[in-house]
């Protein structure tokens, strides 16, 4: 028991850092969210009015819908592509390491820089794709100006950058599957598809749930890619909760309301993750 108590000391450094860089700003954000605080004017205490006005705000719900749409589309695409490539790498008998490094490169690039590359690729008229297609006398859609195409480009951009993370984690997971299970399946006549879906995926399910939880959490903070590519537009077509928070804070200077939205976003994300963790603990204790 004494030794157990001593172990708590190990948490002190990280606990101190977390308090300073996470809990204090969080507490301050919650404090600010209780004020009608327009930068340039004196803050006025209004209790929970910022929260109620956000819950009645059409733009908040629209940004939340957009966030859910983009998160689910991009994480699903990342998972499917990541799994396919990871399985391909697993089956490959040569050049695996080199390919792994190459495939991981998009993930190494800073998100803002990656988004700038992509902007130059998808930009109307002068972008790489437009320039090539128009050179061939083909006039493609307005990638960033049409709401539906803009959403698709954002999903593709996010997937291009984060699929490598999925690949690495899933590839590592596939390599941990017990070889005897694989051999048995093969002896029973299982093909690649059967092997992947009936043997390997169930074996790494805790890892899959873990990586999905991480990516969902991360994607909820969708900001830099969208900010550079579309700035939330056209209109509000790609305006996620974080982009709306930015607009409230830095364009409309509504610090109180922006803080309230930050707190709401945290609550939404935390609830989603809590549900995933609860589900995992009940079903797959090994995941966390």
């Amino acid at each position: 028991m004494h030794a157990q108590r001593g172990l708590w000391l190990f948490l002190v450094p990280s606990g101190t850092v977390l308090t300073l860089v996470l809990l204090y700003p969080l507490g301050y954000a919650f404090y600010l969210s209780l004020f009608n605080y327009y930068l340039g004017a004196e803050p006025i205490f209004i209790g929970l009015d910022n929260y109620s006005s956000l819950l009645l705000d059409e733009r908040f719900w629209s940004s939340l819908r957009t966030t859910l749409l983009l998160v689910s589309a991009s994480v699903s695409l990342q998972f499917v592509l990541g799994l396919a490539v990871a399985f391909g790498l697993y089956k490959l008998t040569f050049a695996t390491k080199g390919l792994n490094v190459l495939l991981f490169l998009p993930h190494v690039v800073t998100p803002v820089v990656a988004a700038l590359f992509l902007r130059w690729i998808f930009m109307g008229r002068w972008g790489l794709i437009d320039a090539i297609l128009i050179g061939l006398n083909i006039f493609p859609p307005d990638w960033l100006g049409n709401p539906n195409w803009a959403r698709l480009v954002v999903v593709l951009a996010e997937s291009w950058q984060f699929t490598p993370f999925m690949i690495i984690v899933l590839y590592a997971g596939l390599n941990t599957v017990d070889q005897s299970q694989i051999e048995s399946a093969r002896m029973d006549g299982a093909g690649n598809w059967m092997l992947l879906t009936r043997v390997m995926l169930p074996a790494i399910r805790p890892l899959i749930l873990f990586v999905l939880a991480i990516r969902i959490m991360d994607s909820f903070r969708f900001f830099d890619t969208i900010y550079v590519l579309t700035a939330g537009g056209p209109g509000t077509a790609t305006e996620t909760v974080t982009i709306y928070t930015y607009a409230l804070g830095f364009r409309l200077l509504e610090v109180g309301k922006a803080s309230a939205l930050g707190v709401l976003t945290l609550l939404i994300t935390a609830t989603a993750i809590a549900l995933v963790i609860a589900f995992l603990y009940r079903r797959e204790r090994g995941a966390f």
Binding site: Y38, G40, A41, L144, N146, P234, G235, R251
Partner: protein
């Protein structure tokens, strides 16, 4: 420079000493340090920025030039936090009201009076200076006046036997006639906030009744306002690719690169049409007042921040030197000179072939409503207008939503609506 443990400890010591004294040492700028200026970017402002750098001997001026929205955002973030990051900021007739209302700028009436003779400041018409006054105090020394006018391809119009549109209905028909996949019938600059607000302002004033009534209640969602945005929506069908993310730079390039036939653009962009290094249409563009008139009238200049650690007199002298009579004559082709004697000088008007169009546009031009929060209203208005023109929301619903959001915002800011 060698970075070793001794140097690192020394740097840490300096920082710690600063922190102990109540401020983070690396973030405090001493008087006499480089003067920092942030500004929007277009040729006339590039000219002024270069002049500032050499305005006073021995005074280094670092000028950061960027697109309008970025400059406004950066200045807003720095000023709202009370930081002395910038000493001089770019301010337009619309942003200056917000900055001044929030107490972010230093009034310059005393300096204006003191240096009136030396810099011939009485050349500025009082009516023009009024646009930069808040509660009777002057906050900006104007560098340009500006007006949006009609750019059109004279050669293509002549070839097709067409005349310059005088109404928006004629413009719409011409845009449809000229439109082709390779060359758009018109430019449209609908990037939120600034560019979209400028263009929509014209439709709102030429077809609609404007933005707000005298009590600041939104009127842009009335029948005429809806008709204005419906017209804008129809015309954007003939606009260049990527128009929803196009600001002034992108529209200027579309005209320069022969990718569009006509459209509304700022007077400050006229001269660049005839710059052979940038333009494929040298001598082919001509200018007129916008169809139905009532395009945006604007202007901009430079202000001294309230949080500067520099001597305000030194900063004023830098601005006034960069914007002096001779400098403005040099830059007259790049903008509409705000100094009366230069604007009305027939020799200068003769020198620049876009001046007749500019003068015609000035006759009916309309400024933004003098509301300090107008750009913040624009944030919501332009997003809703984009939703309307991209078909994400019906026009009436988009404008009604924007009107509700504007009313809420103005009420939150204490306006009795």
């Amino acid at each position: 420079m060698i970075i070793d443990r001794r140097h690192a400890l020394k740097a840490l010591g300096v920082t710690a000493a600063g922190a102990a004294a109540g401020f983070p040492a690396p973030f405090v700028r001493a008087q006499g340090a480089t003067v920092q200026m942030v500004s929007h970017r277009y040729p006339a402002l590039e000219h002024y920025a270069a002049k500032m750098q050499s305005a006073l001997p021995g005074v280094e001026v670092n000028t950061q030039l960027m697109p309008f929205d970025r400059a406004n955002e950066l200045a807003t973030i720095a000023l709202s936090s009370g930081a002395s990051t910038f000493d001089i900021v770019y301010a337009s007739d619309s942003t200056v009201l917000k900055y001044a209302k929030n107490g972010w700028l230093r009034p310059i009436d005393d300096l204006f009076e003191k240096y009136k003779e030396e810099f011939r400041l009485d050349e500025y018409p009082e009516s023009l200076l009024d646009a930069y006054r808040y509660n009777g105090e002057l906050f900006t020394l104007p560098g340009t006046a500006n007006v949006m006018l009609w750019f059109y391809r004279q050669d293509l119009f002549e070839e097709a036997g067409k005349t310059v549109p005088t109404t928006i209905a004629e413009y719409e028909a011409l845009a449809a006639d000229f439109n082709s996949p390779a060359r758009a019938g018109t430019i449209s600059c609908q990037k939120v906030v600034d560019a979209s607000l400028n263009e929509t302002h014209w439709y709102m004033n030429a077809i609609g009744d404007g933005w707000l009534d005298p009590d600041l209640r939104p009127i842009f969602n009335d029948d005429k306002g809806v008709e204005a945005v419906e017209t804008l929506k129809r015309i954007t069908a003939y606009a260049q690719r990527g128009f929803t993310s196009a600001a002034n730079d992108e529209c200027t390039i579309a005209l320069q690169q022969d990718l569009a036939v006509q459209g509304l653009q700022w007077a400050t962009r006229c001269a660049s049409m005839d710059n052979p290094e940038k333009s494929r249409v040298v001598g082919l563009i001509d200018w007129a007042a916008a169809p139905d008139g009532r395009a945006r009238l604007s202007g901009d200049g430079y202000a001294i921040t309230a949080y500067t650690s520099q001597d305000p007199e030194l900063l004023f002298r830098i601005i006034a030197t960069a914007l002096n009579h001779d400098s403005m004559v040099e830059a007259a082709g790049l903008m509409v000179p705000p100094r009366g004697p230069i604007l009305n000088d027939p020799a200068i008007a003769e020198q620049y072939r876009h001046f007749p169009g500019v003068l015609a546009a000035l006759e009916t031009a309309v400024p933004f409503p003098p509301v300090a929060e107008f750009y913040e209203l624009g944030e919501t208005i332009t997003r809703r207008v984009q939703q309307a023109i991209t078909g994400e929301m019906p026009v009436k619903q988009a404008l009604d939503t924007a009107a509700d959001e504007c009313t809420t915002l103005l009420k939150d800011r204490g306006y009795p609506l």
